[in-house]
């Protein structure tokens, strides 16, 4: 009964989504207040039915209702209860349900938080989001319904959740990731609305910015959790593999980062308008491309989703319709939303343009690397297959990011419209000197060896950090007191600086971990010991241990530091009952300055095992930096200007120079 209720809720949600896709949009053309006003209650309705459907599937999991095919494939009576709940989104159908639920939640959030926006804009935005919702709902109901039943031969036991996914990291990774992916649909819908109306001004950018920031922050956290999860769960001790599935989550992030920066220019200066719209369309299109690549199985990847070519074709068609239609609309309407203010060669606009170009070029190259095997196969046939490895990505991505880090430092000090070289020189002289001297000096002092790559990295990190500090000091210098000055700076300013500081922390983590990790895969017999740096690892043998739904071979590794006992680590090999899958469970000692990573390999006879022993300095900083960036994004969206000062904004001096369309826009907004 409950699964039928869930199925019914899905169908009702689809009907409401279809209504919402049509009525409010039609209302904007017939100028019907009633039809436009339907957007808000309809999005509430969709959300309620999606929550109901989700609750029904969750209940089926918690009650081990194996007559539901999806539950039978992804759960088991032995599965701990919190993993039963997480299993709701553990495979294709359920994760699609979560995807649509989150899409509906964003739509509902827009309808709740848009009371200050003109009704016709709200109507268009909600209609566009409902079109996407309807598309994905139809895809789910007709090709991948999570509520499909097996009433005749109901299994008495489920096949269990993929053991890789039985972990806290997974419980939270997909929801955050989807919040990010789907969150870009809001910016996308705003962009489409702007194209339809031809009205794209500072006020538009100001409405779009907090939504984009929120989606970006969620995506940042989602990707970080995924990286952290693969670090401790895959048992390799790596945190990024340039795997196609990682790439497809990284591309919308890079474009989203570009979008955040270009939105800033559009809001403050009224330029880069059509570019901003194109980025908003691209960010969401890349999110959907990610969904397609993960679920269709066109690309070989370590991430396994049930792959079904037929489903892939339907998803591809859906994707082509959404992306194709929005790009067509862009091609027709983009000239209408052209920016008109001018800026000099040496201005903040240009530095942000450089930021955008670097990020977009990086995205394009990752896209090329990800799709290259497909393209190559399509041209040269199946017999000539190629694979693209990490060296490709590292060769391209690292220099681009080094440039980005350099320009980040300059851009902070540049001014809108025009910056005199004298001004930049004055501000950056000290910062440059300090970061060059310390960038060369610090690594030399600590490691007493010359490593240009590390020196460049440290220099760039200090360049960013000193830049952030100096800018804050400068901005507070002329106030009555430092404290008053610090309190006077807005949240969006602190958000920006925090995120940029996060970039510095992240670079530190990535560079130091990559260069100074000591990794040893050794064959050890009980009693053997290996020394790495200050640490000594003594292998104490392997014993059997019983878990709730698995049997483990648990190793004992006694770690001592400088001869003193430090701690005992227990990496495991787990064999899960239901599927018989073997899973490596690493043991990690996390520290602020270094991680000790141990994992158990395979047995090699005579009680000897292969053991993975890593000492990884600063690896924690990678995730810390990413979280700081996300926190910066959240802080910026909490800025007062997004909440107070409603429609009047369009009149303020911040609006771009009054060109004809902009003036019209301001009038419309005020009416």
């Amino acid at each position: 009964m409950i699964p039928e209720l869930g199925n019914f809720a899905l169908m009702l949600a689809l009907c409401l989504a279809l209504l919402q896709a049509v009525l409010p949009m039609a209302g904007t053309y017939t100028n019907s207040q009633l039809w436009m006003g339907l957007g808000r209650p309809l999005s509430a309705g969709i959300w309620v039915f999606m929550v109901l459907a989700f609750a029904c599937l969750a209940r089926s999991f918690l009650h081990d209702d194996f007559s539901v095919a999806y539950v039978a494939r992804n759960s088991n009576t032995e599965l701990p209860v919190y993993y039963k709940f997480a299993a709701v989104w553990g495979a294709h159908e359920g994760s699609l349900l979560l995807w649509v639920l989150i899409l509906a939640s964003w739509g509902y959030a827009v309808s709740l938080l848009s009371s200050k926006l003109p009704l016709d804009i709200v109507a268009r935005v909600l209609s566009v989001m409902a079109m996407i919702t309807a598309g994905f709902l139809a895809f789910m109901i007709f090709t991948s319904n999570p509520f499909d039943r097996m009433l005749l031969n109901t299994p008495t036991e489920g096949t269990d959740l993929n053991p890789l996914l039985q972990d806290f990291g997974l419980t939270v990774h997909p929801p955050f990731l989807y919040m990010g992916y789907v969150g870009f649909s809001v910016a996308f819908a705003f962009a489409i609305a702007a194209l339809l109306t031809g009205r794209l001004d500072a006020a538009w950018a100001r409405w779009t910015r907090p939504w984009t920031n929120a989606a970006w922050a969620f995506l940042t956290v989602g990707i970080t959790l995924g990286s952290w999860w693969s670090y401790y769960e895959l048992g390799w001790g790596g945190w990024w593999f340039w795997d196609p599935v990682e790439n497809v989550s990284f591309m919308p992030w890079l474009v989203g980062t570009a979008l955040i920066h270009s939105l800033a220019v559009t809001e403050k200066r009224g330029v880069f308008k059509s570019w901003t719209v194109l980025l908003a369309i691209s960010a969401f299109s890349l999110s959907m491309l990610g969904a397609f690549i993960v679920r269709s199985g066109v690309i070989t990847s370590v991430h396994a989703f049930a792959t079904d070519p037929e489903r892939g074709m339907v998803l591809l068609a859906l994707l082509l319709v959404i992306i194709g239609a929005s790009l067509c609309l862009y091609a027709i309407r983009a000239p209408v939303v052209k920016g008109s203010a001018s800026y000099a060669a040496n201005s903040r606009e240009v530095f942000l343009l450089i930021n955008n170009i670097l990020l977009v070029v990086a995205t394009a190259m990752i896209l090329l690397g990800t799709l290259f095997p497909l393209i190559h196969e399509a041209i040269y046939g199946e017999a000539n297959r190629m694979s693209v490895g990490p060296p490709y990505y590292n060769t391209i991505f690292i220099p681009l990011m080094a440039l980005l880090a350099f320009f980040l430092g300059v851009a902070t000090f540049s001014r809108w419209k025009k910056t005199s070289l004298e001004h930049l020189k004055q501000n950056l002289k000290l910062v440059l000197l300090a970061s060059v001297v310390l960038g060369i000096g610090l690594p030399l002092l600590v490691t007493s060896s010359i490593n240009p790559a590390i020196m460049l990295a440290v220099g760039l990190v200090l360049w960013i950090v000193f830049g952030v500090l100096k800018d804050i000091l400068d901005k507070t210098a002329n106030k009555d007191s430092r404290l008053a000055g610090l309190l006077g700076l807005g949240r969006s300013y602190y958000g920006m600086q925090l995120a940029h500081f996060g970039v510095a922390v992240l670079i530190t983590g990535v560079c130091l971990t990559s260069h100074y990790s000591i990794e040893q895969d050794v064959r050890m017999k009980p009693g053997d010991s290996v020394s790495i740096g200050d640490y000594s690892f003594e292998f104490g043998g392997v014993v059997e241990r019983k878990g709730p739904n698995y049997d483990a071979q648990s190793a004992t590794i006694n770690v001592s530091k400088n001869g003193k006992a430090y701690r005992v680590m227990n990496p495991e090999k787990r064999k899960y009952h239901a599927r018989g899958d073997v899973q490596t469970e690493a043991a990690i000692d996390t520290g602020f300055f270094r991680d000790l990573f141990t994992a158990l390999g395979d047995p090699r006879g005579d009680d000897a095992w292969v053991v993975r022993l890593h000492v990884k300095p600063f690896v924690f900083w990678i995730w810390l930096g990413a979280f700081l960036m996300a926190a910066g994004g959240v802080l910026a969206l909490l800025d007062r200007r997004y909440r107070y000062r409603p429609v009047l904004l369009a009149q303020t001096t911040e609006a771009p120079s009054a060109t004809a369309p902009d003036a019209v826009m301001a009038k419309v907004v005020n009416s």
Binding site: N162, L164, G235, G297, T300, V302, H303, A304, S342, Y343, A344, A345, V350, L353, I354, I357, L358, V361, A364, M365, L368, G369, F372, E382, A383, N384, R385, M386, S387, V388, G389, P390, P391, Y392, Y393, N394, T395, I396, P399, L400, D521, V522, R523, K573, R579, G580, D581, V582, Q583, T584, A599, G601, D602, R604, G605, D606, V610, R612
Partner: protein
């Protein structure tokens, strides 16, 4: 030059410069990171010459895995597409799903003795999984074997 034209020139200049740097990087990166994929049959046919990095795929031949009594963490096994075999040597930890009779992919190079020296071993995190590359390679090898059988059958009256 008027300011707008100057500005446009600047933008075009920045974009062109970026594109040039990007192209140079791209060529370098393709040189470094691109691995061609070969099957044991293709290797036996002599399609691989030199010691450039390649990726091979096939099945781990049953009974071929040797991992006890070797130096350090070295292992040896034979990758097969049921038509031809390639001996593989690898030093390090094996993935959880690596076992005899299962699909495997490896990155590395062929040495002078015709042994594949693997730098990394990839096995998929799914019991039923066979990568599209390996699957296609298996099909091709099967067809070749069938052709051989037919040819042999045809020779005998």
């Amino acid at each position: 030059m008027n300011p707008i034209r100057k500005q446009k020139l600047l933008i075009v200049g920045v974009i062109l410069g970026g594109a040039a740097v990007a192209t140079a990087l791209l060529l370098l990166a393709f040189n470094k990171g691109l691995n061609a994929f070969f099957t044991p049959t293709e290797i036996a046919e002599g399609k691989v010459t030199g010691t450039q990095n390649i990726r091979i795929g096939g099945m781990v031949k049953k009974g071929s895995l040797l991992k006890e009594g070797l130096q350090g963490t070295r292992i040896e096994f034979i990758a097969t597409d049921f038509n031809e075999d390639v001996p593989v040597v690898y030093t390090g930890v094996l993935p959880d799903l690596f076992r005899e009779g299962q699909g495997v992919m490896a990155d590395g190079h062929m040495d002078a003795k015709g042994v594949f020296q693997a730098d990394s071993i990839l096995a998929k995190h799914d019991e039923n999984y066979m990568s599209s590359e390996v699957k296609a390679a298996m099909e091709a090898a099967k067809n070749k074997q069938a052709a051989k059988t037919v040819a042999n059958g045809g020779a005998q009256p």
